[in-house]
């Protein structure tokens, strides 16, 4: 039984991988994604070469509590896009176990209907220690799919945790999926969700309680809508010159609540139309440029932070960290002073 060094053997040259991605070779696309996800030595060359080819796809984030039907909805949306003649890339993220490092990626189970369609490419990703509902390389994988020419890219976040902020800074259009049922409707809706929703979706509209959920969401939109918009304008968004700033009132995007039965594709074509309206609004209002700016700033910041972290830790003298931990445990110093001392060593 010769040990097969599967991972080691597949070292296509960067040129071959890039060519493959740009010319529709699905195997090489898949392998490029692996390199990027694993942040191999080649990954930065690959991204460098592919980046100029990205920026064309519209990126749609799909977030919401576990089991609300995100994967089913992604599948139904993808089918609508295919019927409209567009190609679709899908990235679905599930959590990595913090204890074993393993992950069970199960979103494909709901995506059978997409099998055999060469206009769709679906990839599952594990969070690998990231807490924000995406993994730290999700944005890079989206870049690769974008460069590969997919017209629309759907990103399904992890159903738990703080998925909000990250998906909003990765996607152009964010769909927040709710489902009717279970207890106090208003309480069930997580704080922070309205700020990031470009479209609110009540999936499983075939279930009882859908109207109560609809009313609750619409009420929350009315109450919080105003302040939310203000934060958006006087917060980060004002940093950038935005044509929308003038006469912004009429130009504001209206967040709507839409009902779907993803399992039967009901309401999904309407949802797709709404996503496309949002895309048109982003472009016409100048908000697209604002979001791209934020998205890129966010990416850059994350890369710098990760790299600084890596450099600092790699320069830490062997064993110093453990010595400090012991010293802190003995209460000879405290974590802040110890950190300062360690950083001083560098």
């Amino acid at each position: 039984m010769a040990a097969i060094t599967a991972l080691a053997q597949r070292s296509e040259t960067a040129t071959a991988l890039i060519d493959g991605v740009l010319h529709g070779n699905r195997l090489l696309l898949a392998r490029t994604i692996t390199q990027v996800e694993n942040q191999t030595a080649q990954a930065s060359d690959l991204l460098h070469a592919l980046y100029p080819h990205s920026g064309r796809a519209h990126i749609i984030g799909v977030t919401g509590a576990p089991g609300t039907g995100k994967s089913t909805l992604v599948t139904a949306l993808a089918r609508c896009y295919r019927q409209a003649g567009m190609t679709v890339g899908i990235v679905a993220i599930d959590p990595t176990s913090p204890f074993t490092g393993g992950a069970l990626l199960g979103d494909r189970v709901r995506m059978r209907a997409l099998a055999g369609d060469a206009g769709v490419f679906m990839r599952s990703m594990a969070t690998r220690g990231s807490l924000g509902g995406l993994s730290k390389t999700t944005g890079d994988v989206v870049t690769v799919l974008d460069a590969a020419g997919f017209d629309r890219i759907l990103v399904e976040t992890v159903g738990v945790g703080q998925a909000e902020v990250e998906i909003a800074s990765t996607a152009h259009t964010t769909l927040v999926v709710e489902a009717p049922g279970l207890g106090d409707e208003v309480q069930a809706i997580k704080a922070g969700i309205l700020e990031i929703a470009d479209v609110l979706v009540i999936n499983k509209a075939d279930r009882p309680g859908v109207d109560a959920t609809l009313r609750a969401l619409q009420m929350m939109l009315q109450i919080e809508g105003e302040s939310t918009r203000l934060v958006r304008h006087h917060g980060q968004l004002l940093r950038v010159e935005s044509p929308a700033a003038a006469g912004a009132e009429e130009q504001r995007w209206q967040v709507t609540v839409m009902k779907t039965v993803a399992a039967e594709s009901t309401g999904v074509e309407e949802l797709r139309a709404q996503v496309e309206r949002h895309r048109e609004w982003l472009v016409a209002s100048g908000e697209m440029a604002v979001r791209e700016q934020l998205r890129i700033a966010n990416t850059l910041e994350n890369i710098i932070r990760a790299e600084l972290n890596r450099r600092i830790l790699s320069r830490m003298p062997d064993g110093r960290m453990n010595e400090m931990v012991d010293a802190i445990r003995r209460r000879e110093t405290d974590p802040y002073r110890a950190a300062a001392d360690l950083l001083h060593l560098l």
Partner: protein, 134 residues
């Protein structure tokens, strides 16, 4: 700062409807630290090969119940090889009559695990077959 993970696709080919066994295996492989892509029941060899390609997995684990393994499993191997995934390790779990074991091996299925197999055995086998470059 590269992080490599062994990726395993767990699929249930054939028409029989329940997948409790496959799910148990999928969960224990996750607990062993693998990234497990679970695809569910009623998968055709084409669907399995397509998922294996998009997910760029190192291992494909096929869970079988019905007697159809002699046609379905070699077909998966054949499709994987044809699409350029020569190195993907293919395993079969389930009841395989002794007579068929050699035939499956000849068809390129390197691991055949009967109903009593411990998870650890499968995990060790995978680690042995897929050497993750450090």
């Amino acid at each position: 700062m590269s992080e490599r993970k062994i990726r395993v696709l767990v699929a249930k080919p054939g028409l029989d409807g329940h997948d409790r066994g496959a799910k148990v295996v999928a969960r224990s492989l996750r607990d062993a630290g693998f990234e497990v892509i679970y695809t569910g029941i009623r998968q055709t060899p084409q669907m399995i090969a397509e998922a294996a390609l998009q997910e760029d997995v190192d291992v494909v684990g096929l869970s079988i119940l019905s007697g159809a393994h002699m046609t379905l499993c070699p077909k998966v191997v054949e499709l994987l090889r044809a699409q350029g995934q020569e190195n993907v390790v293919v395993l079969v779990g389930g009841i395989v009559p002794d007579d068929d074991i050699e035939k499956l091996r000849a068809a390129g299925i390197t691991g055949i695990f009967g109903p009593g197999t411990s998870t650890q055995e499968i995990v060790d086998f995978i680690h042995n077959q897929v050497q993750v470059a450090a």
